[in-house]
């Protein structure tokens, strides 16, 4: 770049605050929502703005205070009988109107069925960008080198998301506001709930169009909650395709690996009083092994298309460590990798490596832990 080229600072003025669209179920904020409030806090504090919780629904009651208890400075809520169930058209209208009138600087959703529906529609209607599946939010300048100069867009949010092309990509929305993202669960730790926190609570009066209510909710049924609590476990022991054979290449019954992993998990739970859970790679789940039927189910998948988790300890047994797997577990505080292949990519991010057979590791580890 020639030295004569000048830097041109660009600031998009007139937009303030980091909004969080707060999802709620059964009168409570969902856990991922409280995580996103923590993420919003991090960004807002950097640029000296407020965190605003946005709530939409019917008969919200005391729920309107919850975002503040979890770290928001302010709440805007819309309470209307026609908003009882989530519906994309009226919800888009309410939220887009709020955005266009009040001009937030950023708007964060949870990556969920609702966030992935409402977020895109609001972003389209308000003519701004959307970064989906974000795992981190960082404030930085965005620099664009053009023939006409070096443009520096001050204080943008780098919306960090997994990207197969470049490991991790930063998505910027330099010229449009608000900057909208959906944030994957499991990437921020909720702030402790504090009932002594106070903040402004504002009611929003909706204005609907005739055709906002074309869609009718006929029925809502609860799906049985999964018993698998990967996100909450302190120790996760995950199995990969390595369970198929032992180090000498002899086929093994994968059920054996599962039982051993389960024993280890139970032992750790008893000994140290922490929640443990069994996870799996997608390859193992997709293999649909008869021996693991009903045991290694889809809700145990860790990774880009499964769950993103950050337990205190993650033990990867016979998992190669494909990027799609890693983005789901790399924030674990201690990663133990067990793999026969010393060049397996999982070792690049492991704190502890065991180059060897998982069928050897498991019984040994169980024995040692018993004696500890």
């Amino acid at each position: 770049m020639s030295s004569s080229q000048q830097s041109i600072e660009v600031r998009i003025e007139g937009y303030r605050d980091v909004w969080v669209y707060c999802e709620h179920e059964d009168g409570k904020l969902t856990r991922p929502t409280t995580e996103v409030i923590a993420g919003a806090r991090k960004v807002a504090d950097k640029v000296g703005m407020d965190v605003v919780g946005v709530l939409i629904g019917y008969n919200l009651g005391d729920l309107v205070r919850e975002p503040i208890y979890y770290g928001a400075d302010k709440v805007i809520y819309c309470d209307d009988p026609r908003l009882k169930d989530y519906q994309v058209l009226p919800y888009t209208t309410v939220l887009s109107d709020m955005v266009m009138q009040l001009k937030p600087w950023a708007l964060l959703f949870v990556t969920s069925e609702i966030g992935k529906d409402l977020g895109p529609r609001v972003a389209y209607r308000t003519r701004t960008g959307l970064a989906a599946d974000v795992i981190d939010l960082v404030v930085e300048d965005f620099v664009m080198n053009l023939p006409t100069g070096r443009y520096v867009y001050k204080d943008c949010i780098a919306q960090v998301r997994p990207d197969f092309a470049t490991r991790i990509a930063k998505i910027f929305t330099p010229k449009h506001r608000p900057q909208i993202s959906s944030v994957r669960p499991g990437n921020f730790t909720p702030l402790p709930r504090d009932e002594s926190r106070r903040g402004e609570i504002v009611r929003w009066e909706p204005r609907f169009d005739e055709d906002d209510f074309q869609v009718e909710v006929l029925e809502t049924v609860r799906v049985p909650k999964s018993e698998v609590k990967l996100e909450e476990a302190k120790v996760v022991i995950s199995l990969g395709l390595g369970v198929l054979r032992d180090a000498s290449g002899r086929p093994r019954n994968p059920r054996e690996a599962y039982e051993l992993a389960k024993q280890l998990a139970d032992l750790i739970r008893e000994k140290f009083g922490v929640e443990t859970e069994i996870g799996a790679s997608r390859a193992l789940i997709y293999a649909e092994l008869k021996e693991l039927e009903g045991l290694i189910t889809k809700d145990r998948q860790v990774g880009q298309t499964g769950k993103t988790i950050a337990p205190d300890v993650y033990i990867a047994l016979g998992i190669s460590g494909a990027l799609q797997h890693r983005v789901g577990m790399q924030r674990s505080k201690k990663i133990i990798a067990v793999n026969v292949d010393p060049n397996a990519p999982i070792f690049q991010i492991a704190h502890y490596g065991y180059v060897g057979d998982l069928y050897e590791f498991l019984p040994k580890a169980i024995e040692i832990l018993r004696s500890m």
Binding site: E23, E25, V88, L89, E113, I114, K116, D117, L118, P120, R121, A123, Y124, G129, L130, D133, F142, A158, P162, D163, F164, A165, T166, R167, I168, K170, I171, F172, K175, D209, D211, Q214, E216, L218, E219, T220, V221, R222, V223, I268, K271, F272, V274, D312, V313, Q330, K333, I335, I336, F347, Q348, I349, H351, Y352, G353, Y354, V355, A365, I368, M372
Partner: protein, 395 residues
């Protein structure tokens, strides 16, 4: 809607974060086959036609769409690629905008054909003349069997009967108006997400873009696990997942849905087959159509990189490698060792399990001889991890 995605995620070509689709091997996005299956089901149930719409460089995408004609999912009748250099680098906003204009053009084409015949009939054109034009439009796949057909086993079309004096103007008009009404009741099906972008945003955003293009709000339903669609009444009933709930929704058509990977298409009831046949078209137009930005009347400032609010910054590595210890390999201290001197240099202090590998080899051997350093073993590992981290976490 379907997208061509890189065949192998390990060989992706990007320039400044923008995918260079023209330089890669591409395949149809795997989850889009679920969308095709769902659309095919809707067609078997109602008749009509199944159009595959895609955006991407035509020379890459055309062959993939051509293959769809012979795919086990039978139903694809027509395929359209929206291709233009100016469309490259589009984010989901610009993609949705572009796709919505493609859909609108396809709709206008079909509606135009029906309206043309309607006008002919109403202007009092001879039966022969109407018949001739209807035949052309039928061969262009623009009129359903109900209006004109050469399919054996099906009753003659209303225009054919009109030409023979066996149907009144009124009957022709009624049939054409019905076809036109049903054309407006279309369904757009998208896969849940693509294997490259993984955003899942294009479905909902296309509904929003289409709302702009058609001047009325078009609903969308994401994460659909099951649905029935009835062109006769113009309604869609879909079951979708939201949080811990399943919602059953009724929406008017048009509507945009995104299909969950575990969707399975049902069997078409026999009762529907006759209706479906009457409202179906001649069939596969094997030539894949290519429309550029001008063909669809796109505003150049809203397509491609120029129309995209988001910009992908340079890729980055996530965190440096951690301090690593390998069982049987890494050498570690067996106990806390206070700071000491060796060859005139100060080392330490060292905690138990601190790595000794980076110290001078000579020193390490001396420490090993004294029993202060040894190879890290599995017991050490478990002790360090569970003795420290978790006990601390408990309090």
């Amino acid at each position: 809607m379907t997208k061509a995605v890189p065949a192998r995620t390990t060989r992706v070509v990007t320039v400044g974060g923008v995918l260079r689709r023209e330089e890669m091997d591409l395949v149809i996005n795997p989850l889009d086959f679920k969308a095709l299956q769902a659309a095919d089901y809707a067609k078997r149930y109602n008749g009509g036609k199944l159009i595959a719409v895609s955006m991407g460089p035509d020379f890459k995408v055309k062959p993939l769409l051509s293959e769809l004609y012979s795919h086990p999912i039978e139903g694809v009748d027509e395929a359209i690629v929206l291709s233009d250099r100016r469309m490259a680098g589009a984010d989901t906003w610009a993609t949705a905008y572009t796709l919505s204009l493609g859909v609108k053009k396809a709709l206008d084409l079909n509606r135009g054909a029906v309206e043309e015949v309607l006008e002919l009939v109403e202007s009092g054109a001879s039966g022969e003349k109407v018949l001739e034009r209807a035949r052309e439009l039928y061969h262009a796949n623009l009129l359903p069997n109900l209006v004109y057909t050469e399919k054996p086993g099906l009753p003659e079309g209303v225009v054919q009967r009109y030409a023979k004096g066996r149907a009144t103007v009124e009957e022709v008009r009624e049939a054409l108006l019905k076809v036109r009404t049903e054309l407006e009741r279309f369904l757009i099906v998208a896969g849940l997400k693509t294997s490259d972008g993984e955003t899942g945003s294009t479905g909902p955003q296309t509904a929003e873009a289409l709302s702009d293009a058609l001047g009325r709000k078009i609903p969308d339903i994401t994460h659909v696990v099951d649905f029935e669609v009835d062109a006769e009444s113009g309604t869609l009933v879909a079951v979708r997942k939201t949080g811990s709930y399943l919602q059953r929704l009724r929406s008017p058509l048009p509507c945009v849905i995104t299909i969950m990977p575990d969707y399975r298409a049902g069997v078409t009831p026999v009762l529907r087959r006759k209706r479906a046949a009457l409202y179906s078209y001649r069939g596969k137009v094997r030539e894949v159509r290519v429309w550029n930005a001008d063909d669809i009347g796109a505003d150049p400032s809203k397509i491609g990189l120029a129309g995209s609010p988001t910009i992908v910054g340079p890729g980055i590595d996530i965190g440096g490698p951690p301090v690593q210890k390998f069982v049987g390999r890494t050498r570690v201290f067996t106990q806390r060792v206070e700071a000491f001197e060796f060859n005139g240099k100060t080392y330490g202090p060292f905690e138990r399990f601190a790595k000794a590998d980076d110290l001078p080899e000579e020193l390490v051997r001396e420490l090993e001889a004294k029993g202060l350093v040894k190879r890290f073993d599995l017991r050490d590992l478990l002790e360090e991890v569970f003795g420290g981290v978790l006990v601390a976490a408990k309090h």
